[in-house]
């Protein structure tokens, strides 16, 4: 028999289980286990509580709920690989901290919500019989602080500021008239509700901040070089927007996520384009310019207005509009018309974030872009990942078929650049090749 490392839901009254030494014998058991336990956190997923425990009564239930997130979906912003890391790290930290807690003797079970939340259930003494060594509220705060600390250490630099842990705690005394399973679920829902309310007020603050940024035109454009990978020569620049320095809205990821949630993308994007084209450094004006735009903006009458397109064309004669694969439209025919208008105005098209696992390839084949920008999640560690290399090779084949050039994004280390060159990718950008900068020198310096 092999030992299995996992958290068992039968964690009662502090008797944390020893390593479970049974191995599922049948495919049915293996399948059931896969449903009951989450593959990333190794914790039981809450609604799939083991049937034999469904009717267990907890006289005085305590719940600490911890939710990963910060105003919007971290996973949508950074991808599932990063989010898997976050969840695994939170699960590890939580289990360690719960075990070493003064409330450990009262722990009933730790469960995962299946998406962003973790529940710690306690079987508490009924009041009057004995006092807890620490209040549940303090325990929630302690667990939260400890997990945040652990996340800062384990996440890639830059990503940690986008993730936060929100916590709530509450207790509920059992009512014999209520079915125990429903009593537990209702209490857990209540704990989630407390966190949601807190989150809503934070969202309102951010929305007010965004309105201020747009009204005060507090945005700046930075430019990142796109280089020929074999020799480092600069082919063009990608314009990237930044919000007010030192604020949470400085990051374009946060800025656009807040705008999207409040349906203000078109306002924000229109302002971005205005700023980019009115502040072009001379060196950027002389090279190809990559500019991001959402499908929503491109279909908007204000953008499609002939005067607007002519204005863009006058400001810069060699513009590539990047459309993210993530938000690609399904009505290709309608979108072809939009692209036709842009091409008439001498703009080229790039599909951004290609290979990031969204709708993808069909879109690329239909829209026949001039450039395919390969998602940074696919580029990261490509030298050590055969499947990523396979995906990139397929994108290259598609590119050849439709006459599109590949540009790899997010290149951070030399091994990635070298692998991309070996795979025939001609162009790329990323910190290895040059960070985004507000001042762009006219000299086309080589990066390596």
């Amino acid at each position: 028999m092999r030992a299995k490392r996992r958290t068992d839901p039968n964690v009662i009254a502090g008797n944390f289980p020893p390593e479970v030494d049974t191995l599922p014998d049948t495919v049915e058991e293996l399948r059931r286990e896969r449903i009951v336990y989450d593959g990333v956190t190794n914790l039981p997923i809450h609604p799939f509580e083991l049937p034999e425990r469904a009717d267990e009564r907890i006289d005085h239930l305590g719940v600490v709920y911890l939710q990963v997130g910060k105003f919007f979906g971290f996973e949508e912003l950074f991808g599932w690989e990063q989010y898997d890391k976050v969840l695994a790290s939170v699960a590890d930290a939580l289990q360690d901290d719960v075990r070493s807690s003064r409330l450990a003797p009262y722990v009933h079970s730790i469960r995962f919500s299946g998406a962003d939340g973790f529940y710690v259930l306690y079987s508490l003494p009924l009041s009057g019989r004995s006092r807890l060594p620490v209040t549940l509220e303090d325990e929630a705060a302690r667990l939260r602080a400890s997990i945040v600390r652990r996340l800062r250490q384990s996440l890639d630099p830059g990503a940690d500021e986008f993730v936060n842990i929100l916590a709530s705690s509450l207790t509920a005394v059992d009512n014999p008239r209520v079915r125990p399973s429903r009593h537990v679920v209702r209490t857990l829902h209540e704990a989630v509700k407390i966190v949601s309310q807190r989150q809503s007020s934070e969202k309102l603050e951010l929305f007010a901040g965004l309105k201020g940024v747009i009204a005060g035109r507090q945005l700046r454009a930075a430019f990142q070089p796109v280089r020929h990978l074999p020799d480092g020569a600069i082919m063009g620049y990608e314009a990237l927007i930044r919000g007010p320095q030192g604020t949470v809205l400085e990051s374009p990821t946060v800025l656009f996520a807040v705008a999207q949630e409040n349906e203000m993308n078109v306002e924000l994007e229109t302002l971005c384009l205005e700023l980019i084209f009115s502040t072009l450094p001379r060196a950027v004006g002389e090279r190809r310019l990559f500019v991001n735009a959402s499908a929503m903006l491109l279909r908007h009458p204000v953008f499609l207005d002939a005067r607007n397109l002519a204005q863009i064309n006058r400001s810069h004669g060699d513009v590539v509009i990047e459309i993210s694969e993530k938000e690609m439209v399904r009505d290709y025919d309608a979108f072809q018309e939009v692209l036709g208008l842009m091409r008439k105005s001498h703009m080229r098209i790039a599909i951004d974030d290609a290979g990031s696992g969204y709708s993808g390839l069909e879109t690329i084949l239909h829209l026949k872009p001039d450039y395919i920008k390969v998602a940074d999640s696919l580029v990261r560690n490509i030298h050590a990942d055969p499947i990523k290399r396979e995906i990139l090779t397929s994108l290259g084949t598609i590119g050849k078929r439709i006459g599109a050039t590949l540009v790899a994004e997010g290149i951070e280390v030399e091994a990635e650049r070298k692998t991309l060159v070996d795979l025939g990718v001609e162009f790329g950008q990323g910190y290895l090749l040059g960070k985004p900068s507000y001042q762009v020198s006219a000299r086309a310096t080589r990066a390596y």
């Binding site: 191995l23 293996l30 593959g39 696992g357 499947i387 396979e390 397929s394």
Partner: protein, 128 residues
């Protein structure tokens, strides 16, 4: 001797893979159906699993996801060998913890190269 398990409901494919890899010095098992193969793979962990995606009774995706949930087989390299060649299938393979991917039809040398590379990588990790 390194042991490889090939799980493919198409007997012609699994036999062809076995005939290719046995002369290279590998022990190759070709269990006839995925459900039995899964339990056996977890009990007797091989050095590499080569998996078809479309199989009756259990898909290769599910097979791989279950392997990744088990402590014993969490690190075993899995090579998907399948007629599906779309990029989204490769992305699924990656998300489920697959180690590499080879689209059918494939060349003998291509398969040998991938198998060697996957086994070498595990070897390096063990030694490192």
């Amino acid at each position: 001797m390194k042991r490889i398990v090939v799980v493919d409901d198409d007997r012609e494919v699994s036999s062809a893979v076995r005939d290719l890899l046995v002369p290279d010095g590998f022990a190759v098992d070709t269990p006839p159906e995925p459900r039995a193969a899964l339990v056996e793979t977890i009990r007797q962990v091989p050095d590499l699993v080569i998996l078809d995606v479309n199989m009756p009774g259990m898909t290769g995706w599910e097979f791989c996801a279950i392997l990744r949930r088990q402590t014993a087989t969490r690190e075993v390299p899995v090579l998907f060998l399948t007629g599906r060649s779309e990029v989204k299938d490769r992305i699924t393979a990656m998300q489920l913890g697959g180690s590499d991917y080879l689209a059918k039809p494939f060349g003998a040398e291509e398969l040998r190269k991938k198998v060697r590379s996957l086994l070498e990588e595990t070897h390096t990790v063990e030694e490192g």
